[in-house]
Structures are given as structure tokens and as C-alpha cells.
């Protein structure tokens, strides 16, 4: 415990490092996943290719990716940019699937109504499909946020400073309190970002506050149809 009180500055600095590593990938992966997810939802051929692609990408373990990536994109192993790119890739891998499922979960009748009143495909996407898929996208983005914060700690073993540095430093010096502090700080940061996303969701999607949200039920529904 005394370790924590005498090293609050260190913990705070590593927390800031961690924010720098984990927030950009969360935002970037969302921005990249929307067009990719739309392609996967809109085109049958694209669906197969994109979804198996992101599936395989997600299967790549983090540490080897952190090591291989610099040799492909030309950063150094320890540079924050290297981790940001790698974490963005994982975020995209998770999020594309969610975007495709979310868009597919929009009621067919609603979509046809939009078409009937003369919305172009572009308007229909931004005014109808995207907002209605909102709750599903938010749920996916929350998963991305929490796993990105957790995953960013791995960078510490290759020397990138983050809250993960508390694990490597604590392990090497045999300070249990330091590791525990690192775990708590990581979880708190994850929960804080998660909470921020929930708040943002309430602000941007005021209609979800009163009515129970449209759940990510698209796969379930088709499942039931198949069984029945």
C-alpha cells in the first residue's frame, strides 16, 4: 500500500500514457469500421471476404503483432504509433462485424418506408439505418473500448510505456502492490471510458432513454426462424 501512496505521480503518468495509446484506436477503429461494415452488410460478396478477413485478423495474438507490425509499416517496436496502429486493427476487427450486424438488424419495413418516401441510398444510410443501428454500434464500441484498454498493457513487455509498465516493473522488482495498482488503474480507466461512451450514447440517441433499446438480436431472430 505504501508503494501506491509514494508513487501516485508515476501511476498518473502511466495512466496518461495509457490514454494516449488507447483512445485514438477506439475512435479510429469506429471511423474505419463503419464503411467496411456497410460494405459487408450491403454486398454479399463483400460480406464473405470482409468478415473472414477481420475474423482472421482478430485471431492474430497481440504480442507477435506488436513485433511484426513495425517491420511492415516502418515504425520502431517501442513507438506509441506502432501500438496505436495494432490496437486500431483489433478494434476494426471487432467493430466491422458489429456494424454489419447492426445495420442488418434495422427493420425491413422501416427501410422500405424510407425508400418509398424517396430517400437516396446515402440519405437512407445516414438518416435511417445508421441512427437505428446506433444502440448495437454503441454496445460494440463499448466492447472495443474495454478490450483496447486491457490490450494496451501488453505493450509494456516490448518497452512501450503504459499502465502495463506497472506489471513489468512490479514483477521484476517483486512489488505486488504495484501490479495490483496497475490492474485497478486499468479497470478503472476501462470503466471510465465505458461510462463516457454510455453518456455519449444517451446524448446522441435520446430516444433510447425512454424505450428499451433495440437489442443486438438480429442473429437470434434468424436463429429462431431457422429452428422453427
Amino acid at each position: 500500500m505504501t508503494w501506491i501512496w509514494s508513487n501516485l505521480d508515476f501511476i498518473w503518468d502511466r495512466t496518461l500514457d495509457h490514454v494516449v495509446l488507447s483512445v485514438p484506436p477506439i475512435i479510429l477503429s469506429f471511423l474505419l469500421a463503419v464503411p467496411l461494415g456497410w460494405l459487408a452488410y450491403r454486398f454479399r460478396v463483400g460480406r464473405g471476404i470482409i468478415l473472414s478477413g477481420v475474423g482472421l485478423l482478430y485471431a492474430v495474438p497481440s504480442l507477435p503483432l506488436f513485433i511484426v507490425l513495425p517491420f511492415i509499416v516502418g515504425t520502431t517496436v517501442r513507438s506509441p504509433l506502432n501500438l496505436i496502429i495494432a490496437l486500431t486493427l483489433y478494434g476494426v476487427a471487432l467493430m466491422v462485424r458489429v456494424v454489419a450486424d447492426g445495420l442488418a438488424s434495422v427493420d425491413r419495413n422501416v427501410r422500405q418506408s424510407a425508400m418509398a418516401v424517396g430517400f437516396s441510398e446515402w440519405t437512407q444510410f445516414w438518416r435511417v439505418e445508421f441512427p437505428l443501428a446506433g444502440p448495437v454500434l454503441l454496445a460494440g464500441l463499448r466492447v472495443v473500448a474495454v478490450s483496447t484498454v486491457s490490450l494496451a498493457t501488453v505493450g509494456a513487455v516490448i518497452g512501450a510505456q503504459s499502465l502495463g509498465s506497472l506489471f513489468t516493473d512490479g514483477f521484476q522488482r517483486g512489488i505486488q502492490a504495484e501490479i495490483i495498482a496497475g490492474i485497478i488503474a486499468t479497470v478503472v480507466l476501462a470503466l471510465a471510458l465505458d461510462g463516457a461512451l454510455v453518456l455519449l450514447g444517451r446524448l446522441l440517441m435520446p430516444w433510447t432513454r425512454s424505450a428499451p433499446s433495440t437489442e443486438a438480436r438480429a442473429p437470434m431472430r434468424s436463429d429462431k426462424e431457422a429452428v422453427a
Binding site: G55, L56, Y58, A59, V60, P61, S62, L63, P64, L65, I67, V68, F71, V77, R97, V98, D101, V136, A139, G140, R142, V143, V146, S147, V149, S150, L151, T153, V154, A156, V157, I158, L163, G164, L166, F167, T168, G170, F171, G174, Q176, I179, G182, I183, T186, V187, A190, L191, E215, A216, A218, P219, M220, S222, D223, K224, E225, A226, V227, A228
Partner: protein, 235 residues
């Protein structure tokens, strides 16, 4: 691209295939470690998941715990356990089993939950006992989602087993850490390529398995993996 050529040369250098640190031995270690942890976690998670899925009891607790576990950093857990029990294989086994339980548990109970209640009522109506319902109706119908859970768990274990080399002398991660320490690019890249190939191979095997366990007659529109379960967990 020179670095990758060196890595490939390292992978095919016969001298890397002898001794206690041989590539073949490390691959087997990694694979054995992964499978054994998967078995440990399954023995705990699958019966528990079936119980939750069949009875609906304890669901809130399971969802909450699984959600909380997602935010716990694997490296933190690994180093903490290693520091408590000492250098050796106990720490990685314990930490990885704990990490692999939530996805398997989620796969097991969401598999049961995804089944149409009418199907189960029908089974009850034709006179099946609770045991028969579980074995003959719920279990087969839930297999694809359970397999999805096992797949997520396997990915998690393969990745974390690499990290485990940080606290114990095990698996392919050794090449990565030795390479990093000595700035031996060929070794760290070669080792990384091996881990990635192993992970992708397991992913492909599980994708095929998942397709194979879908019972005949329900092939259309099955959720193919555990993603739906994960988005649910997040809430």
C-alpha cells in the same frame, strides 16, 4: 523485407531444431499448454454454463462476472499470480484457466438461451424428461455457440500463452523475449510468425468444427459465432 528473409532463414535453420530450445519442442509446448488449459477451463465452465442456460438461474451473476473479467488485463493477472506462487508453470496455468472460463461459459449458456422456447416446450409436451431435454434437444442445438465460445477461449489462450513466456520458461513466446532481449530480429520475427501461424491454424480448425457441429435441418441462419454473445455481455 530483409528482416523477413532473415526470419524465414531462422525458421529453416536446422540448428534451431536441436536441444531443449528447439522450435519443434516449443511448438508442442505451446500447443499442449493451450489444449490442457482449454480442458481445465471447459471442465469448470461447460457444466456451469449448461446449468445456467437450462435453469436460467445465476445468469445475472455470470454476465456480470464475465463482463468484469473482460476488463482485467491478462498481463496483470499473469504477473500477479507469478509473483504470488513463484516462477514455474503453476502461474501461467492458473491465470490462463481463469481467463478462458468466461468465453466458454458465455458460449455454453447463450447456446441454451438462443433456442426457441417453443422447441423446448414441444420436447416437454411429447413427454421428454428434463435430462432428455438437455441431452437430446438443448445440447445439440447449442453446440455451434458453445464451439464459438471454445474458439474465443482458444484464441485468448494461444495469445496469452505467448505472454506467459514472460514469467515462465514455456512455449513460443521464449523466442520473442530472447529475440527482444538480444535484439535478434530474425529470432523475434521468426517466433512471432510461428505464433501467428499457430493461432490462424487453430482459428481455421475451429471454424470448420463449428460448421460441422450444426445439427442437420438447422443449418440456415445459425449464428456462426459468439459475437452476439459478446455484444450482450457488454451491456
Amino acid at each position: 523485407m530483409n528482416f523477413f528473409a532473415d526470419a524465414v532463414a531462422w525458421l529453416f535453420d536446422p540448428t534451431n531444431y536441436v536441444g531443449s530450445n528447439a522450435i519443434g519442442i516449443r511448438v508442442l509446448e505451446h500447443l499442449g499448454f493451450t489444449l490442457l488449459t482449454l480442458v481445465f477451463a471447459s471442465v469448470i465452465a461447460i457444466p456451469l454454463g449448461f446449468f445456467i442456460g437450462h435453469t436460467g438461474r445465476g445468469r445475472g451473476l455470470a454476465v456480470g462476472t464475465a463482463g468484469a473479467f473482460r476488463s482485467i488485463p491478462t498481463l496483470g493477472l499473469l504477473t500477479l499470480v507469478a509473483l504470488s506462487v513463484g516462477i514455474g508453470l503453476t502461474a501461467p496455468y492458473a491465470a490462463l484457466t481463469v481467463l478462458a472460463i468466461p468465453p466458454i461459459l458465455a458460449g455454453a449458456y447463450t447456446g441454451f438461451e438462443a433456442i426457441d422456447r417453443a422447441t423446448i416446450d414441444a420436447a416437454r409436451a411429447v413427454g421428454m424428461s428434463e435430462g432428455q431435454i438437455v441431452r437430446k434437444v438443448e445440447l445439440p442445438l447449442s453446440l455451434p455457440l458453445l464451439m464459438g465460445g471454445l474458439r474465443s477461449a482458444t484464441l485468448q489462450i494461444v495469445a496469452t500463452a505467448t505472454l506467459a513466456a514472460y514469467v515462465a520458461d514455456i512455449g513460443l513466446g521464449r523466442f520473442l523475449f530472447t529475440g527482444l532481449k538480444n535484439l535478434d530480429y530474425a529470432q523475434m520475427l521468426g517466433g512471432s510468425i510461428l505464433v501467428i501461424l499457430l493461432a490462424l491454424l487453430l482459428e481455421v480448425i475451429f471454424t470448420v468444427l463449428q460448421k460441422l457441429v450444426v445439427p442437420r435441418g438447422v443449418a440456415a441462419g445459425r449464428p456462426t459465432d459468439i459475437w452476439a454473445g459478446f455484444t450482450k455481455l457488454a451491456r
